[in-house]
C-alpha cells in the first residue's frame, strides 16, 4: 500500500523583511510542480466532506481529480461552475474553517490545501485567458443590482449568463466593494480584481459607478424605470467605533477610512496621488479580525516603526484567518492580547499621543461560546501611539434602508430577507450578502448573490406563484432561532 504523503507543500512567499516595504502580494502562488505535489495528497475519499464545507458547493473532489490528471481546463470548468471568482476566493476565503476543516486527512495530518490549489487553477485560467461558458440567448428581462461588491458582482454574472440584462449601480468610483476599498493589494492584487470585473463586463453586465441608490435614485424609481427585479447587495460598510473618550482626536481612524485611503485612493503614493494619510510612527489597531490585520500590516508598509494589535481576548478567540495572524507576526506586529482600550489620549492640538488600556482575563463562555473578557481591576497602562485604527467591525449602511421604508429592517441595521431565496418584504426586491447577514465573508456574500440570482431567474421566467410571496417573517425568525 503506498504511503500517504504527510507533508503540505508550503506556499512560497515574499520574505517578511522585504515585504513590509511594499504592497505586493505576500503569497506568491504554487508552481505547477508544487500544485501537482499538493493535489496528489487528496485521497478522493468517498464521503466528500470538503464539499459540505464550501459555502458555494464547489465539487472539490472532481476539481482536484481533474487537476491531478493535468486537465487544467477541466479543473477550471468545475471551479467556475460553482464560483465566479475563484482567483479571489482562493486568496481570501477562510479555508481552514470551511472546506479544509472537513478534509478527511485532518484525522492524521494536515488537510489538502484546497484554497491554494483553487488559486493556482484560477490564476492559470486568467493568464491563459481561458474562457468560461458563454451567455444564454437574451431574454429581454432587466435586473438592477445595488452594489458592485462580491454579492452584487456574483449575482450579475449569474444573471448575465442566464441571458438577462443586468445593471450594477455602485456608489464608489470603482467596482469591487470591499475587495477594492477594504482588502489590501498584498492579499488581493488589484489586477486580480480588475480581471474579474472585466470578465463580468464581458458577460454584458453594465456597471454604473458613482450611483448612490437611496440618493441618486431610489429602488422604486429603478422599478418604475423598467427594471423588473432589484437585488440589494449594499454590504456592511458602516464602521463601528469604540465610543470611548478621545475617539475623535486627529489620528484616530476607522479601519474603513484608513484602508479606503490606501487601497481605493492611493494614499500610499501621496503626494503623487492627491489623497493624504497620516503615516503613523507608532500605531495601535483595535480588534482581532482580518480587517485589523489588514490595517496593522498596511501601517507597517506605509512606514510605521511599531505596530500593535490591541485585542481584548486571547490568541485562541481571535477571529482573523490563521494565515493573516501568522503573516502579521512574521512582519513584526506586536500583539497586546487580553487588552482593552479605555480612552485615547491627545495633546493640546488634538493629536493622538497614546491610549490607556486595561488588562483583561477570560471568564465564562458567552452565548456564542467565546469566553467573556473581564477587566482586571487597577491594571491600567498607557501605550504611546500617534495613531489608533478602530477595527471592531461594520454594520450595514443605512442609506438604502432609510430611502426604502417598505424594506423590512432587521437587527443591527440589516435588511430582512428569506434565507432560502433572498426575497425581501418588498415586491420584486431581493437582498443578500453582508446587507442581510451583517459583516461576514466574501464567499458567503457570493453564495447569497448566486442564490438570489437563481430565484430572480425563476421569477422572471414566471415560474412559481404569480403573487409576491415575499419574506415569510415567521419562517425567517424560526431559521434564525435555529442557528442561534
Amino acid at each position: 500500500m503506498p504511503k500517504l504523503n504527510l507533508n503540505v507543500v508550503p506556499m512560497p512567499q515574499q520574505d517578511p523583511s522585504a515585504r513590509i516595504h511594499n504592497f505586493d502580494e505576500v503569497a506568491l502562488g504554487y508552481t505547477p510542480e508544487m500544485a501537482r505535489e499538493e493535489v496528489s495528497r487528496c485521497i478522493q475519499c468517498k464521503n466528500r466532506p470538503c464539499v459540505e464545507g464550501c459555502p458555494v458547493g464547489i465539487d472539490i473532489p472532481v476539481f482536484l481529480n481533474a487537476l491531478r490528471s493535468g486537465d487544467l481546463p477541466g479543473a477550471a470548468e468545475v471551479l467556475y461552475a460553482a464560483n465566479s471568482f475563484p482567483a479571489i476566493c482562493g486568496r481570501v476565503c477562510p479555508q481552514e474553517t470551511q472546506c479544509q476543516a472537513r478534509c478527511t486527512l485532518n484525522k492524521r495530518q494536515a488537510p489538502v490545501q484546497i484554497g491554494r490549489l483553487e488559486r493556482f487553477v484560477a490564476d492559470w485560467a486568467r493568464e491563459q485567458k481561458w474562457r468560461r461558458a458563454g451567455v444564454a440567448p437574451a431574454t429581454g428581462h432587466r435586473v438592477a443590482i445595488v452594489g458592485a461588491g462580491p454579492a452584487g458582482l456574483c449575482a450579475a454574472a449569474d444573471l448575465a449568463k442566464l441571458g438577462h440584462s443586468a445593471t450594477i449601480f455602485e456608489a464608489l468610483h470603482k467596482p469591487g466593494g470591499v475587495l477594492a476599498y477594504g482588502i489590501p493589494s498584498f492579499r488581493l492584487p488589484r489586477d486580480v480584481i480588475q480581471a474579474e470585473v472585466d470578465e463580468v463586463r464581458q458577460l454584458g453586465v453594465e456597471i454604473r459607478t458613482d450611483w448612490v441608490i437611496g440618493k441618486t435614485a431610489t429602488i422604486d424609481e429603478l422599478l418604475d424605470e423598467g427594471y423588473e427585479a432589484v437585488f440589494v447587495a449594499t454590504g456592511a460598510g458602516l464602521p463601528m467605533f469604540l465610543h470611548c473618550p478621545g475617539e475623535n482626536l486627529n489620528g484616530v481612524y476607522s479601519a474603513n477610512e484608513f484602508l479606503t485611503r490606501v487601497n481605493l485612493m492611493g494614499a500610499s503614493r501621496f503626494p503623487e496621488y492627491d489623497t493624504p494619510i497620516r503615516v503613523p510612527r507608532r500605531v495601535g489597531v483595535v480588534g482581532g479580525g482580518n480587517v485589523a490585520m489588514d490595517a496593522v500590516r498596511s501601517s507597517l508598509r506605509l512606514g510605521a516603526e511599531e505596530a500593535y494589535i490591541v485585542y481584548r481576548r486571547s490568541e485562541k478567540e481571535m477571529p482573523a484567518r490563521h494565515e493573516e495572524y501568522e503573516h502579521a507576526k512574521e512582519e513584526g506586529v506586536r500583539f497586546l492580547l487580553l487588552t482593552n482600550p479605555v480612552r485615547i489620549l491627545g495633546d493640546e492640538k488634538g493629536n493622538v499621543v497614546g491610549m490607556e488600556c486595561l488588562r483583561m482575563e477570560l471568564g465564562e463562555p458567552d452565548e456564542r461560546g467565546r469566553r467573556r473578557p473581564i477587566p482586571v481591576k487597577g491594571s491600567e497602562f498607557v501605550v504611546e501611539l500617534d495613531a489608533v485604527i478602530v477595527a471592531l467591525g461594520t454594520s450595514p449602511n443605512p442609506l438604502v434602508r432609510r430611502a426604502t421604508p417598505d424594506l423590512r429592517a432587521g437587527a443591527h441595521g440589516t435588511i430582512v430577507a428569506d434565507p432560502a431565496t433572498g426575497r425581501t418584504a418588498k415586491p420584486r426586491v431581493w437582498a443578500g450578502g453582508d446587507a442581510v447577514t451583517g459583516a461576514a465573508t466574501v464567499i458567503l456574500a457570493m453564495g447569497e448573490g448566486r442564490q438570489a440570482a437563481a430565484d430572480i431567474d425563476r421569477f422572471l421566467r414566471g415560474q412559481g406563484p404569480a403573487e409576491w410571496p415575499g419574506v415569510d417573517l415567521e419562517r425567517v425568525s424560526h431559521a434564525v432561532a435555529a442557528t442561534a
Binding site: D191, S254, E257, P271
Partner: protein, 274 residues
C-alpha cells in the same frame, strides 16, 4: 463657478445637499455643496474657492472638460417649512450655497433676510440672484469696499438686539463664521442651523472621517447632516479635525504648483491609475 452636466444628480438635488467629486484619476474625493441645479438642462452648479490642490485643478478646467466622479446628491436636504422670518447667512463661496436655501424658504412663504459676507468687493458674485430671492439683502465686506464694513454677525446682532422677530437662522460658510453666528443667536434663543464641512471621503457613511460632535454625540456629517443645530456643535473639534492634513495639503499644493509652472500654466494630466 462650474456648471456640471449631471442629469441624474440635477434631477434629485435639493437645497442643502452636496456632491462628492474627483478631478482626475489620481485625485482626492472632496465634498462640495450644491449651489444651484437646473433639472431641465440637467446641470448642477458648484462654486469653489481655488485654495487646495483639487480646487485649483477644478479652477483650471475648461468648458467641455469632464470630471471622472461627480456623485450625489448626498446628505439630507435643508428642512424647508413656513417658519416666519428666516435669516440666511452666507460667507465667501458659502453665499452660493445660501442661494437655493433662501429661494426655497421664500417659496415656502417665509420672509427671507439674507446676509452675505465677502472679504472684498472683487470677490462678490450672485448679488443680484440673492436679492431676487430675499425680502432684504445685506451685503458685508471685511474692508468695506462694498456694502457694510465688517462681518456678517454685526447686522445679525443688530437685528436681534432691536427686537426684530427672527424664527430661524441658517448659516453656510467657513466654520469660524458659522460658529460666531451660533454664538450670536444663542443668547436670544433663536434656532440656528449650520451646514458643516468636515473632511470626507465617500460621503455615504462608510469612512467616518467626517465625525462631528453635536450635543455630546458623535455624528457623521455625510449621512446624519450636513446640517445641524449650531448651538449644539462642538466647534473646536470641527476646527481641530479640519486641520488633520494641514502639512500634507501644503506638500500636495507645492507639488501641484511645480507641475503647473513646468508646463506653461496648465496642470499636468495625470495618467490613468493602474
Amino acid at each position: 463657478m462650474l456648471d456640471i452636466e449631471a442629469p441624474a444628480v440635477a434631477r434629485k438635488a435639493l437645497p442643502g445637499q452636496f456632491v462628492v467629486l474627483r478631478v482626475d484619476e489620481r485625485g482626492e474625493r472632496i465634498p462640495v455643496t450644491v449651489a444651484d441645479y437646473d433639472r431641465a438642462a440637467g446641470t448642477v452648479t458648484v462654486v469653489v474657492m481655488a485654495v487646495g490642490t483639487t480646487t485649483r485643478k477644478l479652477a483650471m478646467l475648461e468648458e467641455g472638460d469632464a470630471l471622472p466622479t461627480f456623485v450625489g446628491p448626498l446628505g439630507n436636504p435643508t428642512h424647508v417649512d413656513k417658519f416666519g422670518t428666516v435669516v440666511c447667512i452666507g460667507g465667501g463661496v458659502g453665499t452660493a450655497m445660501t442661494y437655493p436655501v433662501a429661494r426655497a424658504m421664500r417659496e415656502a412663504g417665509n420672509e427671507v433676510v439674507t446676509i452675505a459676507g465677502w472679504r472684498n468687493q472683487g470677490l462678490i458674485f450672485w448679488e443680484d440672484r440673492l436679492r431676487e430671492v430675499s425680502d432684504e439683502l445685506i451685503v458685508c465686506t471685511d474692508d468695506g469696499s462694498c456694502g457694510r464694513k465688517g462681518v456678517v454677525t454685526n447686522p445679525l446682532q443688530e437685528m436681534l438686539e432691536a427686537g426684530r422677530r427672527v424664527d430661524l437662522v441658517i448659516a453656510i460658510g467657513p466654520a469660524i463664521m458659522m460658529k460666531f453666528v451660533s454664538l450670536t443667536t444663542k443668547p436670544h434663543g433663536v434656532k440656528t442651523v449650520v451646514s458643516l464641512n468636515p473632511i470626507m471621503i465617500d460621503g455615504t457613511g462608510m469612512c467616518g472621517g467626517c465625525r462631528v460632535e453635536v450635543g455630546g454625540e458623535t455624528k457623521f456629517a455625510c449621512v446624519d447632516g450636513p446640517e445641524f443645530d449650531g448651538h449644539l456643535v462642538d466647534w473646536d473639534l470641527l476646527f481641530q479635525r479640519q486641520r488633520s492634513y494641514l502639512d500634507q495639503e501644503r506638500q500636495s499644493l507645492a507639488l501641484f504648483e511645480q507641475h503647473v509652472c513646468r508646463i506653461d500654466g496648465k496642470p499636468a494630466t495625470a495618467p490613468t491609475a493602474p
